[in-house]
């Protein structure tokens, strides 16, 4: 599995929202995924 560049709490949020974090493009430095990225993906994606 690929390394996900996101903090543990962001990864947990993704699981709670049913988002596959591997699909989320991070807006942070070095492609880091933020909570907002996860929420935006959920809104746009579903």
């Amino acid at each position: 599995r690929p390394v996900i560049h996101a903090a543990p709490s962001v990864r947990r949020l993704a699981r709670e929202l049913g988002v596959d974090i591997a699909q989320v493009r991070g807006s942070g430095p070095a492609g880091r995924v933020s909570e907002d990225d996860v929420r935006a993906f959920q809104k746009g994606g579903s």
Binding site: I4, R11, R12, R15, A30, R32
Partner: protein, 463 residues
Amino acid sequence: MDFDVLVIGAGPGGYHAAIRAAQLGLKVACAEMGAVGGVCLNIGCIPTKALLHAGETIANTRHAADFGLSYGPATLDIAKMNGWKDGIVKKLTGGVAGLFKANKVTHLVGQASFIDANTVKIGDKTYTASSFIIATGSEPATLKGLDVDQVAIVDSTGALNVPDPVPARMLCVGGGVIGFEFAHIYNNLGSKVKVIEFLPNIIPGADADAVKEFGKIMKKQGIEIVTRMKANSAQKQADGVHVELENVETGEKTTEVFDRVLVAVGRRPRTAGLNLEAAGLKATERGFIEVNTRMQTGVPHIYAVGDVAGNPMLAHKAMKEGLVAAEVIAGKPSEQDAVAIPGVVYTSPELAWVGLTEQEAIDKGYKVKTGLFPMSASGRAMTLQSTEGFVKMVVEEGTDLLLGVHIVAAHASDLLGEAGLALEMAATASDVALTIHAHPTLGEAVLEAAESVHKQAIHIVNR
């Protein structure tokens, strides 16, 4: 059903699972056939760390002469040292028993064995549960030709009982973490110690540069290390244990005599007596129970955590998996998704690492940059009389993302907390370098290693 969750085994994995499940409102039982606390508290992490501290304290009395402190002839009461160690174990295992009570976890005493996928037998009683967590751990791997008697030829459990007098000549078969921790203990207690390792390198899994530095320091402390060497047989005779050693490359055989031989060639998962088949489960060829990232086995309401569920066989990995299993059973979206699991050899100095080694990063296709800061340039290290070793940082070129941190230093295990958090947070080397670290601390070496990735370390000449 008697219980919502029945945990089998009260080691780190099992007791974490039981307590978290109880915290989440489930009706929990934990079956244990031995002592609560499992291997780690009773015959693993805790007693070894106690003996390592005792040995390190003895070694430190010698270094104290450097700043003018001298003692009369030091004497060691070995029975008292063993008793002190056992006291710590007792206190901690008593603590776990107390936590079970406080959390209303029912402690079932005895060996659990499945009757069917929802029932286990313990003694002559049977118990039913909606979910099970198997946390039965592991036991020492044995070596053909070396029969452990726990006196002259010991495994890690026997080695915890330091004999009086300490063995004059000690052989550690296996140059892994456990082999080196005991080599270090006995070396500090006065034994002449030899470590043999079958593979070309000691401490498999650690970064090559860190292992090289670590081996150099251990040799300087008086431990003899021979790689590509195996032990074929061991015979007890009047003058000691005669061990036939074989050079794996040349096939040349020699016999050497030791007073104590430690067999530390690995551990194997323990499922004996569980009667897995009755639950519809089968261990893999190597004995592990296969699980997904939610710690679920092939039978969805049966989970497995810790040593029995796969490598690395480490207490903190078992603990995390125990929490995940309990949370998943309670309906939480939990997952074992750790970026990195730290590893530590608790010698002095310690060897500790988290994340990818330089070679692993290269093998995974990363373009790698490294930073290195020697402890000899650390003011704090000098004040602690511990200037050996370094912090090495492995970073992805371009993104500056931290991939791994490898430390040989006093208290390296504690420095690892920062490195682990940095990896989990997907920190860059700059994030670490921009964080103010207290001065003087050993942790500054982590900051300076990050600076050195960018050739901007202050206390060394950057090349």
